[in-house]
Protein backbone atom coordinates (compact mmCIF):
# COMPACT_ATOMS: atom_id res chain seq x y z
CA UNK A 1 0.00 0.00 0.00
CA UNK A 2 2.94 2.34 0.64
CA UNK A 3 4.49 3.81 -2.47
CA UNK A 4 6.92 1.00 -2.87
CA UNK A 5 10.58 1.76 -2.92
CA UNK A 6 11.33 -1.90 -3.32
CA UNK A 7 13.65 -2.81 -6.10
CA UNK A 8 12.63 -5.47 -8.56
CA UNK A 9 15.29 -7.83 -7.29
CA UNK A 10 14.10 -7.59 -3.73
CA UNK A 11 10.53 -8.06 -4.78
CA UNK A 12 11.45 -11.15 -6.75
CA UNK A 13 13.15 -12.67 -3.73
CA UNK A 14 10.38 -11.73 -1.33
CA UNK A 15 7.40 -12.62 -3.51
CA UNK A 16 8.70 -14.84 -6.29
CA UNK A 17 11.01 -17.16 -4.41
CA UNK A 18 8.46 -18.89 -2.16
CA UNK A 19 6.17 -19.49 -5.14
CA UNK A 20 9.06 -20.85 -7.15
CA UNK A 21 9.93 -23.18 -4.28
CA UNK A 22 6.37 -24.46 -4.14
CA UNK A 23 6.40 -25.03 -7.90
CA UNK A 24 9.77 -26.75 -8.13
CA UNK A 25 9.84 -28.78 -4.91
CA UNK A 26 7.28 -31.41 -5.96
CA UNK A 27 9.06 -31.92 -9.29
CA UNK A 28 12.33 -32.35 -7.45
CA UNK A 29 10.68 -34.79 -5.07
CA UNK A 30 9.39 -36.86 -8.00
CA UNK A 31 12.82 -36.78 -9.60
CA UNK A 32 14.45 -38.33 -6.56
CA UNK A 33 11.69 -40.91 -6.14
CA UNK A 34 10.16 -39.20 -3.13
CA UNK A 35 6.68 -38.78 -4.58
CA UNK A 36 5.15 -39.22 -1.12
CA UNK A 37 6.44 -35.73 -0.37
CA UNK A 38 4.24 -34.08 -3.00
CA UNK A 39 1.15 -33.83 -0.75
CA UNK A 40 3.33 -32.17 1.87
CA UNK A 41 4.01 -29.34 -0.57
CA UNK A 42 0.40 -29.26 -1.70
CA UNK A 43 -0.60 -28.87 1.92
CA UNK A 44 1.74 -25.91 2.15
CA UNK A 45 0.12 -24.31 -0.88
CA UNK A 46 -3.37 -24.86 0.57
CA UNK A 47 -2.44 -23.44 3.97
CA UNK A 48 -0.68 -20.55 2.24
CA UNK A 49 -3.94 -19.81 0.42
CA UNK A 50 -5.99 -19.84 3.63
CA UNK A 51 -3.40 -17.83 5.51
CA UNK A 52 -3.20 -15.27 2.72
CA UNK A 53 -6.93 -14.65 3.03
CA UNK A 54 -6.46 -14.14 6.76
CA UNK A 55 -3.43 -11.94 6.09
CA UNK A 56 -5.60 -9.69 3.93
CA UNK A 57 -8.09 -8.80 6.67
CA UNK A 58 -5.48 -8.82 9.41
CA UNK A 59 -2.79 -6.65 7.89
CA UNK A 60 -4.88 -3.97 6.24
CA UNK A 61 -8.18 -4.47 8.05
CA UNK A 62 -6.80 -5.03 11.55
CA UNK A 63 -9.19 -7.95 12.06
CA UNK A 64 -7.52 -10.64 14.16
CA UNK A 65 -9.75 -13.60 13.44
CA UNK A 66 -9.19 -16.70 15.53
CA UNK A 67 -12.08 -18.43 13.81
CA UNK A 68 -11.02 -18.97 10.22
CA UNK A 69 -10.91 -22.73 10.73
CA UNK A 70 -14.70 -22.58 10.50
CA UNK A 71 -14.55 -21.49 6.87
CA UNK A 72 -11.82 -24.02 6.15
CA UNK A 73 -14.11 -26.77 7.42
CA UNK A 74 -17.14 -25.39 5.62
CA UNK A 75 -15.26 -25.52 2.33
CA UNK A 76 -14.16 -29.05 3.07
CA UNK A 77 -17.71 -30.14 3.80
CA UNK A 78 -19.00 -28.56 0.58
CA UNK A 79 -16.71 -31.00 -1.21
CA UNK A 80 -17.38 -33.92 1.13
CA UNK A 81 -21.16 -33.60 1.14
CA UNK A 82 -21.44 -33.06 -2.61
CA UNK A 83 -19.13 -35.94 -3.29
CA UNK A 84 -20.95 -38.33 -0.98
CA UNK A 85 -24.27 -37.61 -2.64
CA UNK A 86 -22.78 -37.82 -6.11
CA UNK A 87 -21.44 -41.26 -5.23
CA UNK A 88 -24.64 -42.43 -3.51
CA UNK A 89 -26.78 -40.80 -6.16
CA UNK A 90 -28.93 -39.44 -3.35
CA UNK A 91 -30.20 -35.86 -3.31
CA UNK A 92 -27.98 -33.39 -1.48
CA UNK A 93 -29.43 -30.70 0.82
CA UNK A 94 -32.04 -28.41 -0.78
CA UNK A 95 -32.87 -31.26 -3.16
CA UNK A 96 -29.83 -30.55 -5.29
CA UNK A 97 -28.10 -33.38 -7.13
CA UNK A 98 -24.67 -34.28 -5.72
CA UNK A 99 -21.61 -32.59 -7.21
CA UNK A 100 -18.20 -33.96 -7.84
CA UNK A 101 -16.40 -31.48 -10.08
CA UNK A 102 -14.16 -28.67 -8.92
CA UNK A 103 -15.80 -26.26 -11.35
CA UNK A 104 -18.85 -26.60 -9.12
CA UNK A 105 -17.41 -27.45 -5.71
CA UNK A 106 -14.81 -24.68 -5.56
CA UNK A 107 -17.16 -21.80 -6.47
CA UNK A 108 -19.80 -23.35 -4.23
CA UNK A 109 -17.32 -23.51 -1.35
CA UNK A 110 -16.47 -19.86 -1.93
CA UNK A 111 -20.13 -18.85 -1.99
CA UNK A 112 -21.11 -20.79 1.14
CA UNK A 113 -18.02 -19.64 3.03
CA UNK A 114 -18.58 -16.00 2.09
CA UNK A 115 -22.28 -16.21 2.87
CA UNK A 116 -21.70 -17.56 6.39
CA UNK A 117 -18.88 -15.06 6.89
CA UNK A 118 -21.31 -12.16 6.48
CA UNK A 119 -23.29 -12.67 9.72
CA UNK A 120 -20.12 -13.84 11.50
CA UNK A 121 -18.31 -10.72 10.36
CA UNK A 122 -21.18 -8.48 11.30
CA UNK A 123 -21.39 -9.93 14.82
CA UNK A 124 -17.64 -9.88 15.38
CA UNK A 125 -17.35 -6.34 14.06
CA UNK A 126 -19.77 -5.15 16.73
CA UNK A 127 -16.61 -5.11 18.80
CA UNK A 128 -12.87 -4.73 18.43
CA UNK A 129 -9.69 -5.99 20.01
CA UNK A 130 -9.83 -8.89 22.43
CA UNK A 131 -13.59 -9.27 22.04
CA UNK A 132 -13.20 -9.73 18.29
CA UNK A 133 -10.71 -12.53 18.89
CA UNK A 134 -12.92 -14.31 21.43
CA UNK A 135 -16.07 -13.99 19.34
CA UNK A 136 -14.53 -15.33 16.16
CA UNK A 137 -13.13 -18.21 18.20
CA UNK A 138 -16.53 -18.93 19.73
CA UNK A 139 -18.42 -18.77 16.43
CA UNK A 140 -15.93 -21.17 14.86
CA UNK A 141 -16.42 -23.53 17.77
CA UNK A 142 -20.14 -23.42 17.07
CA UNK A 143 -19.49 -24.59 13.49
CA UNK A 144 -17.21 -27.31 14.87
CA UNK A 145 -19.97 -28.63 17.14
CA UNK A 146 -22.47 -28.34 14.32
CA UNK A 147 -20.30 -30.53 12.09
CA UNK A 148 -19.83 -33.06 14.90
CA UNK A 149 -23.61 -33.29 15.21
CA UNK A 150 -24.14 -34.04 11.49
CA UNK A 151 -24.74 -37.76 11.79
CA UNK A 152 -25.73 -38.08 8.15
CA UNK A 153 -22.21 -36.99 7.27
CA UNK A 154 -20.30 -39.16 9.68
CA UNK A 155 -20.54 -37.03 12.82
CA UNK A 156 -17.19 -36.91 14.55
CA UNK A 157 -15.66 -39.30 12.01
CA UNK A 158 -16.49 -37.19 8.98
CA UNK A 159 -16.59 -38.40 5.40
CA UNK A 160 -13.94 -40.61 3.83
CA UNK A 161 -14.01 -40.04 0.08
CA UNK A 162 -12.70 -43.52 -0.73
CA UNK A 163 -14.30 -43.22 -4.16
CA UNK A 164 -11.78 -40.51 -5.03
CA UNK A 165 -11.28 -36.82 -5.59
CA UNK A 166 -13.35 -34.26 -7.42
CA UNK A 167 -12.79 -34.13 -11.14
CA UNK A 168 -11.75 -30.90 -12.84
CA UNK A 169 -13.94 -30.13 -15.85
CA UNK A 170 -14.48 -33.88 -16.13
CA UNK A 171 -10.77 -34.76 -15.93
CA UNK A 172 -9.62 -37.21 -13.26
CA UNK A 173 -7.38 -35.60 -10.64
CA UNK A 174 -5.79 -38.77 -9.32
CA UNK A 175 -2.36 -37.48 -10.30
CA UNK A 176 -0.77 -35.74 -7.33
CA UNK A 177 1.16 -33.29 -9.47
CA UNK A 178 -1.98 -32.20 -11.30
CA UNK A 179 -3.73 -31.47 -8.02
CA UNK A 180 -0.67 -29.61 -6.80
CA UNK A 181 -0.70 -27.49 -9.94
CA UNK A 182 -4.37 -26.63 -9.43
CA UNK A 183 -3.70 -25.51 -5.86
CA UNK A 184 -0.73 -23.45 -6.98
CA UNK A 185 -2.70 -21.73 -9.73
CA UNK A 186 -5.49 -20.86 -7.33
CA UNK A 187 -2.95 -19.55 -4.81
CA UNK A 188 -1.43 -17.32 -7.48
CA UNK A 189 -4.86 -16.15 -8.56
CA UNK A 190 -5.89 -15.30 -5.00
CA UNK A 191 -2.64 -13.43 -4.54
CA UNK A 192 -3.24 -11.38 -7.67
CA UNK A 193 -6.83 -10.54 -6.70
CA UNK A 194 -5.98 -9.67 -3.09
CA UNK A 195 -3.03 -7.49 -4.13
CA UNK A 196 -5.20 -5.58 -6.55
CA UNK A 197 -7.85 -5.08 -3.91
CA UNK A 198 -5.30 -3.96 -1.33
CA UNK A 199 -4.10 -1.22 -3.67
CA UNK A 200 -7.60 -0.27 -4.83
CA UNK A 201 -9.84 2.25 -3.06
CA UNK A 202 -11.44 -0.71 -1.30
CA UNK A 203 -8.14 -1.54 0.38
CA UNK A 204 -7.45 2.08 1.23
CA UNK A 205 -10.74 2.35 3.05
CA UNK A 206 -9.99 -0.79 5.07
CA UNK A 207 -6.53 0.51 5.86
CA UNK A 208 -7.89 3.90 6.87
CA UNK A 209 -10.52 2.32 9.10
CA UNK A 210 -7.86 0.22 10.81
CA UNK A 211 -5.80 3.30 11.55
CA UNK A 212 -8.57 5.68 12.53
CA UNK A 213 -12.16 4.63 12.20
CA UNK A 214 -13.70 7.81 13.65
CA UNK A 215 -11.77 9.85 11.12
CA UNK A 216 -13.11 7.73 8.28
CA UNK A 217 -16.68 8.39 9.35
CA UNK A 218 -16.00 12.10 9.56
CA UNK A 219 -14.71 11.95 5.99
CA UNK A 220 -17.97 10.40 4.85
CA UNK A 221 -17.09 6.70 4.81
CA UNK A 222 -19.12 3.93 6.38
CA UNK A 223 -16.33 1.43 6.96
CA UNK A 224 -18.50 -1.38 8.33
CA UNK A 225 -19.74 -2.44 4.90
CA UNK A 226 -16.18 -2.59 3.59
CA UNK A 227 -15.05 -4.55 6.62
CA UNK A 228 -17.84 -7.07 6.35
CA UNK A 229 -17.14 -7.35 2.63
CA UNK A 230 -13.47 -8.03 3.27
CA UNK A 231 -14.32 -10.55 5.98
CA UNK A 232 -16.69 -12.35 3.60
CA UNK A 233 -14.11 -12.38 0.80
CA UNK A 234 -11.58 -13.77 3.24
CA UNK A 235 -14.02 -16.42 4.50
CA UNK A 236 -14.82 -17.42 0.92
CA UNK A 237 -11.17 -17.87 -0.01
CA UNK A 238 -10.47 -19.88 3.12
CA UNK A 239 -13.41 -22.10 2.21
CA UNK A 240 -11.85 -22.68 -1.22
CA UNK A 241 -8.66 -23.70 0.58
CA UNK A 242 -10.71 -26.10 2.70
CA UNK A 243 -12.29 -27.53 -0.44
CA UNK A 244 -8.82 -28.13 -1.88
CA UNK A 245 -7.68 -29.69 1.40
CA UNK A 246 -10.57 -32.15 1.21
CA UNK A 247 -9.30 -33.15 -2.23
CA UNK A 248 -5.73 -33.52 -1.06
CA UNK A 249 -6.72 -35.73 1.89
CA UNK A 250 -9.73 -37.38 0.21
CA UNK A 251 -11.27 -37.00 3.64
CA UNK A 252 -13.15 -34.37 5.61
CA UNK A 253 -13.93 -34.28 9.32
CA UNK A 254 -14.82 -31.69 11.94
CA UNK A 255 -11.09 -31.63 12.63
CA UNK A 256 -10.72 -29.24 9.69
CA UNK A 257 -12.61 -26.76 11.85
CA UNK A 258 -10.76 -27.47 15.08
CA UNK A 259 -9.73 -24.24 16.73
CA UNK A 260 -6.04 -25.15 16.54
CA UNK A 261 -6.32 -24.75 12.74
CA UNK A 262 -7.36 -21.14 13.30
CA UNK A 263 -4.34 -20.76 15.55
CA UNK A 264 -2.02 -22.28 12.96
CA UNK A 265 -3.29 -19.90 10.30
CA UNK A 266 -2.53 -16.94 12.55
CA UNK A 267 0.91 -18.36 13.26
CA UNK A 268 1.58 -18.71 9.53
CA UNK A 269 0.58 -15.10 8.91
CA UNK A 270 2.84 -13.78 11.65
CA UNK A 271 5.74 -16.10 10.84
CA UNK A 272 5.71 -14.81 7.29
CA UNK A 273 5.42 -11.20 8.35
CA UNK A 274 2.69 -8.64 7.77
CA UNK A 275 4.58 -6.54 5.25
CA UNK A 276 3.36 -8.26 2.10
CA UNK A 277 0.80 -10.91 1.15
CA UNK A 278 3.60 -13.26 0.12
CA UNK A 279 4.36 -13.54 3.83
CA UNK A 280 1.56 -16.09 3.99
CA UNK A 281 3.46 -18.32 1.55
CA UNK A 282 6.70 -17.94 3.48
CA UNK A 283 4.87 -18.65 6.71
CA UNK A 284 3.27 -21.83 5.37
CA UNK A 285 6.63 -23.05 4.07
CA UNK A 286 8.31 -22.38 7.40
CA UNK A 287 5.63 -23.67 9.76
CA UNK A 288 4.61 -26.81 7.88
CA UNK A 289 8.23 -27.44 6.93
CA UNK A 290 9.28 -27.17 10.53
CA UNK A 291 6.50 -29.51 11.59
CA UNK A 292 7.63 -32.11 9.04
CA UNK A 293 11.24 -31.86 10.13
CA UNK A 294 10.45 -32.02 13.85
CA UNK A 295 8.17 -34.97 13.24
CA UNK A 296 11.16 -36.84 11.85
CA UNK A 297 12.79 -36.60 15.26
CA UNK A 298 9.88 -37.08 17.62
CA UNK A 299 6.15 -37.60 17.60
CA UNK A 300 6.05 -35.08 20.43
CA UNK A 301 7.22 -32.29 18.13
CA UNK A 302 4.74 -29.85 19.66
CA UNK A 303 6.83 -29.82 22.84
CA UNK A 304 9.50 -28.07 20.79
CA UNK A 305 7.20 -26.14 18.47
CA UNK A 306 5.23 -24.47 21.28
CA UNK A 307 8.17 -22.87 23.10
CA UNK A 308 9.72 -21.98 19.74
CA UNK A 309 6.58 -20.02 18.92
CA UNK A 310 6.74 -18.21 22.24
CA UNK A 311 10.36 -17.28 21.59
CA UNK A 312 9.54 -16.04 18.09
CA UNK A 313 6.70 -13.87 19.35
CA UNK A 314 8.76 -12.45 22.19
CA UNK A 315 11.97 -11.82 20.31
CA UNK A 316 11.47 -11.96 16.54
CA UNK A 317 8.45 -9.95 15.49
CA UNK A 318 8.28 -9.17 11.81
CA UNK A 319 8.62 -12.74 10.61
CA UNK A 320 10.37 -13.82 7.45
CA UNK A 321 9.36 -10.65 5.63
CA UNK A 322 10.87 -8.49 8.32
CA UNK A 323 13.97 -10.64 8.30
CA UNK A 324 14.37 -10.25 4.53
CA UNK A 325 13.82 -6.51 4.79
CA UNK A 326 16.47 -6.27 7.46
CA UNK A 327 18.92 -8.26 5.37
CA UNK A 328 18.28 -6.04 2.41
CA UNK A 329 18.31 -2.72 4.10
CA UNK A 330 21.23 -3.44 6.33
CA UNK A 331 19.39 -1.87 9.19
CA UNK A 332 16.38 -2.53 11.34
CA UNK A 333 13.14 -2.06 9.50
CA UNK A 334 10.34 -0.40 11.37
CA UNK A 335 7.29 -2.62 11.22
CA UNK A 336 5.11 -0.54 13.47
Amino acid sequence: MRPDALTLRRRLIRDGLPMLLLAVAPLAAMAVDAGWLVPVFTRMAVFALAAMALHFILSIGGMVSLGHAAFFAIGGYVVGIGSQHAYDETPAPLGLPGWNDMLISLPAAFAVGALIAVPFGWLSLRTRGAYFIMITLALAQMIFYLLVSLRAYGGEDGISMWWGRNTLAGLEMSDRLALHAVCLVILALAWWVLSRMTAAPFGWVLDGARQNEARMRALGYRPLAYQIGAFALSGGIVAVAGALMANVDEFVSPGLGHWTVSGELLVIVILGGLGSLSGAVWGALVLLGLEEVLMEFTQHWAVIMGPLLVVIVLFARGGVGGFLDRLNMGKRHDDA
Binding site: R2, R196, A200, P201, W204, D207, N212, G220, R222
Partner: protein, 254 residues
Amino acid sequence: MTTPDAPVLEARDLHKSFGALVATNGLSLTVRTGQIHALIGPNGAGKSTAIAQLAGSLRPDAGEVLFSGHSVTRLDEAGRARLGLARSFQISALFPEMTALESVMLAVQAGRRHHARFWKPASADDSLLEPARQALYTLGIGHLARTRASDLAHGQRRLLEMAMALAREPRVLLLDEPMAGLGFVETRNLSAVIHALKADMGILLVEHDMDVVFRLADVVTVLVDGAVIASGPPSVIRDDPDVRRAYLSEDDAC
Protein backbone atom coordinates in the same frame (compact mmCIF):
# COMPACT_ATOMS: atom_id res chain seq x y z
CA MET B 1 -23.05 27.78 -5.78
CA THR B 2 -22.94 29.49 -2.46
CA THR B 3 -25.13 32.35 -1.46
CA PRO B 4 -23.53 34.68 1.07
CA ASP B 5 -25.38 34.87 4.37
CA ALA B 6 -27.61 31.88 3.60
CA PRO B 7 -27.96 29.65 6.70
CA VAL B 8 -26.13 26.45 5.91
CA LEU B 9 -26.01 24.73 9.29
CA GLU B 10 -28.49 25.29 12.09
CA ALA B 11 -28.95 23.87 15.54
CA ARG B 12 -32.41 24.22 16.99
CA ASP B 13 -32.94 23.77 20.70
CA LEU B 14 -30.52 20.86 21.13
CA HIS B 15 -30.55 18.97 24.41
CA LYS B 16 -28.14 16.26 25.52
CA SER B 17 -27.57 14.71 28.94
CA PHE B 18 -25.22 12.03 30.18
CA GLY B 19 -26.97 10.69 33.21
CA ALA B 20 -27.31 13.59 35.61
CA LEU B 21 -24.90 15.77 33.67
CA VAL B 22 -26.61 18.20 31.31
CA ALA B 23 -24.08 18.76 28.54
CA THR B 24 -26.27 20.67 26.10
CA ASN B 25 -29.23 22.66 27.28
CA GLY B 26 -31.32 24.25 24.57
CA LEU B 27 -28.52 25.14 22.16
CA SER B 28 -29.56 27.04 19.07
CA LEU B 29 -27.18 28.62 16.59
CA THR B 30 -26.93 29.36 12.89
CA VAL B 31 -23.82 29.07 10.74
CA ARG B 32 -24.05 31.11 7.52
CA THR B 33 -22.06 30.84 4.34
CA GLY B 34 -19.40 33.52 4.29
CA GLN B 35 -19.27 33.75 8.06
CA ILE B 36 -16.99 32.51 10.77
CA HIS B 37 -19.12 31.66 13.76
CA ALA B 38 -17.11 31.21 16.93
CA LEU B 39 -18.36 29.04 19.77
CA ILE B 40 -16.64 29.88 23.02
CA GLY B 41 -17.08 29.03 26.66
CA PRO B 42 -15.13 27.84 29.68
CA ASN B 43 -13.86 24.29 29.96
CA GLY B 44 -16.73 21.87 30.38
CA ALA B 45 -19.25 24.26 28.84
CA GLY B 46 -20.23 21.59 26.31
CA LYS B 47 -18.50 22.85 23.17
CA SER B 48 -17.16 19.50 22.08
CA THR B 49 -20.49 17.84 22.79
CA ALA B 50 -22.14 20.49 20.63
CA ILE B 51 -19.69 19.87 17.76
CA ALA B 52 -20.29 16.14 18.02
CA GLN B 53 -24.04 16.63 17.71
CA LEU B 54 -23.66 18.94 14.74
CA ALA B 55 -21.26 16.53 13.05
CA GLY B 56 -23.50 13.57 13.77
CA SER B 57 -21.21 11.42 15.89
CA LEU B 58 -23.51 12.03 18.85
CA ARG B 59 -27.29 11.99 18.71
CA PRO B 60 -29.11 14.74 20.65
CA ASP B 61 -31.83 13.79 23.14
CA ALA B 62 -34.06 16.48 21.68
CA GLY B 63 -33.84 19.25 19.12
CA GLU B 64 -32.95 19.42 15.47
CA VAL B 65 -29.94 19.91 13.22
CA LEU B 66 -30.59 21.43 9.80
CA PHE B 67 -28.29 21.41 6.81
CA SER B 68 -29.29 23.91 4.10
CA GLY B 69 -32.74 23.98 5.62
CA HIS B 70 -33.23 20.23 5.64
CA SER B 71 -33.26 18.20 8.81
CA VAL B 72 -30.26 15.91 9.16
CA THR B 73 -30.94 15.03 12.80
CA ARG B 74 -31.35 11.39 11.99
CA LEU B 75 -28.51 11.22 9.48
CA ASP B 76 -25.26 9.61 10.64
CA GLU B 77 -21.89 11.30 10.56
CA ALA B 78 -20.84 9.78 7.23
CA GLY B 79 -24.10 10.88 5.64
CA ARG B 80 -23.63 14.47 6.81
CA ALA B 81 -20.05 14.41 5.61
CA ARG B 82 -21.26 13.42 2.17
CA LEU B 83 -23.66 16.36 2.13
CA GLY B 84 -20.71 18.67 2.62
CA LEU B 85 -19.98 18.87 6.31
CA ALA B 86 -16.33 18.59 7.27
CA ARG B 87 -14.72 18.67 10.69
CA SER B 88 -11.33 18.81 12.27
CA PHE B 89 -10.63 17.07 15.54
CA GLN B 90 -9.33 18.51 18.76
CA ILE B 91 -6.65 15.86 18.92
CA SER B 92 -5.09 15.59 15.47
CA ALA B 93 -6.86 12.47 14.31
CA LEU B 94 -4.83 11.29 11.37
CA PHE B 95 -3.87 8.05 9.68
CA PRO B 96 -0.45 7.49 11.25
CA GLU B 97 0.88 5.05 8.64
CA MET B 98 -0.23 7.02 5.58
CA THR B 99 1.71 9.77 3.92
CA ALA B 100 0.26 13.26 3.88
CA LEU B 101 -0.62 12.85 0.22
CA GLU B 102 -2.34 9.51 0.75
CA SER B 103 -4.33 10.91 3.66
CA VAL B 104 -5.68 13.74 1.56
CA MET B 105 -6.33 11.43 -1.38
CA LEU B 106 -8.41 9.28 0.93
CA ALA B 107 -10.36 12.39 1.89
CA VAL B 108 -10.89 13.37 -1.76
CA GLN B 109 -12.02 9.87 -2.61
CA ALA B 110 -14.68 9.97 0.08
CA GLY B 111 -16.61 12.48 -1.96
CA ARG B 112 -16.48 10.42 -5.14
CA ARG B 113 -18.52 7.69 -6.64
CA HIS B 114 -15.90 5.38 -7.98
CA HIS B 115 -16.45 3.01 -10.83
CA ALA B 116 -13.42 0.89 -10.08
CA ARG B 117 -13.55 0.76 -6.32
CA PHE B 118 -12.27 -2.78 -6.08
CA TRP B 119 -9.76 -2.99 -8.83
CA LYS B 120 -7.95 0.09 -10.01
CA PRO B 121 -4.97 1.06 -7.84
CA ALA B 122 -5.94 4.19 -5.97
CA SER B 123 -2.43 5.62 -5.85
CA ALA B 124 -2.30 6.00 -9.64
CA ASP B 125 -5.62 7.82 -9.89
CA ASP B 126 -4.95 11.33 -11.18
CA SER B 127 -8.43 12.49 -10.31
CA LEU B 128 -7.50 11.88 -6.66
CA LEU B 129 -3.89 12.93 -6.93
CA GLU B 130 -4.38 16.40 -8.34
CA PRO B 131 -6.95 17.76 -5.89
CA ALA B 132 -4.96 16.23 -3.04
CA ARG B 133 -1.73 17.93 -4.15
CA GLN B 134 -3.64 21.16 -4.55
CA ALA B 135 -4.99 21.00 -1.01
CA LEU B 136 -1.53 20.37 0.40
CA TYR B 137 -0.08 23.33 -1.49
CA THR B 138 -2.93 25.58 -0.43
CA LEU B 139 -1.97 24.94 3.17
CA GLY B 140 1.73 25.28 2.47
CA ILE B 141 2.70 21.70 3.16
CA GLY B 142 3.12 20.52 -0.43
CA HIS B 143 6.72 19.62 0.28
CA LEU B 144 5.60 17.14 2.93
CA ALA B 145 3.44 15.07 0.55
CA ARG B 146 5.59 11.95 0.92
CA THR B 147 6.03 12.20 4.69
CA ARG B 148 4.18 9.81 6.93
CA ALA B 149 1.60 11.46 9.16
CA SER B 150 3.24 9.98 12.25
CA ASP B 151 6.50 11.69 11.30
CA LEU B 152 4.97 15.16 10.98
CA ALA B 153 5.49 17.84 13.60
CA HIS B 154 2.49 18.95 15.61
CA GLY B 155 1.85 22.12 13.63
CA GLN B 156 2.20 20.24 10.36
CA ARG B 157 -0.37 17.70 11.51
CA ARG B 158 -2.80 20.53 12.19
CA LEU B 159 -2.32 21.74 8.65
CA LEU B 160 -2.73 18.24 7.24
CA GLU B 161 -5.90 17.96 9.27
CA MET B 162 -7.14 21.14 7.58
CA ALA B 163 -6.07 19.90 4.15
CA MET B 164 -8.10 16.72 4.63
CA ALA B 165 -11.14 18.69 5.69
CA LEU B 166 -10.82 21.09 2.75
CA ALA B 167 -10.05 18.52 0.08
CA ARG B 168 -13.67 17.57 -0.12
CA GLU B 169 -14.77 21.15 -0.83
CA PRO B 170 -17.16 21.23 2.10
CA ARG B 171 -19.94 23.73 2.58
CA VAL B 172 -19.55 23.81 6.33
CA LEU B 173 -16.39 23.41 8.32
CA LEU B 174 -16.45 22.53 12.02
CA LEU B 175 -13.11 23.38 13.59
CA ASP B 176 -12.51 22.08 17.11
CA GLU B 177 -9.63 24.13 18.56
CA PRO B 178 -7.50 24.20 15.43
CA MET B 179 -4.88 26.41 17.08
CA ALA B 180 -4.27 24.19 20.11
CA GLY B 181 -0.57 23.69 20.61
CA LEU B 182 0.51 25.94 17.76
CA GLY B 183 3.21 28.58 18.05
CA PHE B 184 2.73 32.27 17.31
CA VAL B 185 3.72 32.16 13.64
CA GLU B 186 1.79 29.00 12.94
CA THR B 187 -1.30 30.46 14.58
CA ARG B 188 -1.05 33.57 12.45
CA ASN B 189 -0.65 31.54 9.27
CA LEU B 190 -3.54 29.23 10.04
CA SER B 191 -5.72 32.21 10.93
CA ALA B 192 -5.05 33.64 7.49
CA VAL B 193 -5.98 30.33 5.88
CA ILE B 194 -9.24 30.13 7.81
CA HIS B 195 -10.06 33.73 7.03
CA ALA B 196 -9.55 33.09 3.30
CA LEU B 197 -11.80 30.03 3.39
CA LYS B 198 -14.95 31.68 4.59
CA ALA B 199 -15.82 33.10 1.21
CA ASP B 200 -16.95 29.67 0.02
CA MET B 201 -18.33 28.10 3.14
CA GLY B 202 -19.69 28.53 6.63
CA ILE B 203 -17.27 27.93 9.46
CA LEU B 204 -17.97 27.05 13.06
CA LEU B 205 -14.88 27.70 15.15
CA VAL B 206 -14.36 26.42 18.67
CA GLU B 207 -11.29 28.11 20.01
CA HIS B 208 -9.65 28.98 23.31
CA ASP B 209 -7.36 31.69 21.99
CA MET B 210 -9.49 34.84 22.44
CA ASP B 211 -7.24 36.95 20.23
CA VAL B 212 -7.91 34.56 17.38
CA VAL B 213 -11.63 34.48 18.11
CA PHE B 214 -12.11 38.24 18.18
CA ARG B 215 -9.90 38.77 15.15
CA LEU B 216 -11.58 36.13 12.96
CA ALA B 217 -15.17 35.73 14.06
CA ASP B 218 -18.16 37.45 12.49
CA VAL B 219 -20.48 36.07 15.14
CA VAL B 220 -19.65 34.78 18.61
CA THR B 221 -21.84 32.49 20.65
CA VAL B 222 -21.00 32.00 24.31
CA LEU B 223 -21.83 28.69 25.92
CA VAL B 224 -21.92 28.16 29.70
CA ASP B 225 -23.09 24.91 31.24
CA GLY B 226 -24.52 23.77 27.94
CA ALA B 227 -26.68 26.85 27.44
CA VAL B 228 -26.17 29.94 25.29
CA ILE B 229 -25.75 33.04 27.46
CA ALA B 230 -25.00 35.46 24.65
CA SER B 231 -24.68 35.59 20.89
CA GLY B 232 -23.74 38.45 18.57
CA PRO B 233 -20.94 40.33 16.84
CA PRO B 234 -17.56 40.25 18.62
CA SER B 235 -17.73 43.93 19.56
CA VAL B 236 -20.99 43.37 21.43
CA ILE B 237 -19.89 40.12 23.05
CA ARG B 238 -16.63 41.63 24.25
CA ASP B 239 -18.50 44.18 26.31
CA ASP B 240 -21.37 41.98 27.45
CA PRO B 241 -21.31 42.05 31.26
CA ASP B 242 -22.68 38.51 31.58
CA VAL B 243 -19.99 37.16 29.35
CA ARG B 244 -17.27 39.03 31.17
CA ARG B 245 -18.49 37.69 34.47
CA ALA B 246 -19.08 34.13 33.37
CA TYR B 247 -16.19 33.59 31.13
CA LEU B 248 -13.65 36.17 30.21
CA SER B 249 -12.65 36.89 33.78
CA GLU B 250 -12.20 33.19 34.46
CA ASP B 251 -10.11 32.90 31.37
CA ASP B 252 -7.78 35.58 32.63
CA ALA B 253 -7.46 33.72 35.86
CA CYS B 254 -6.18 30.59 34.16
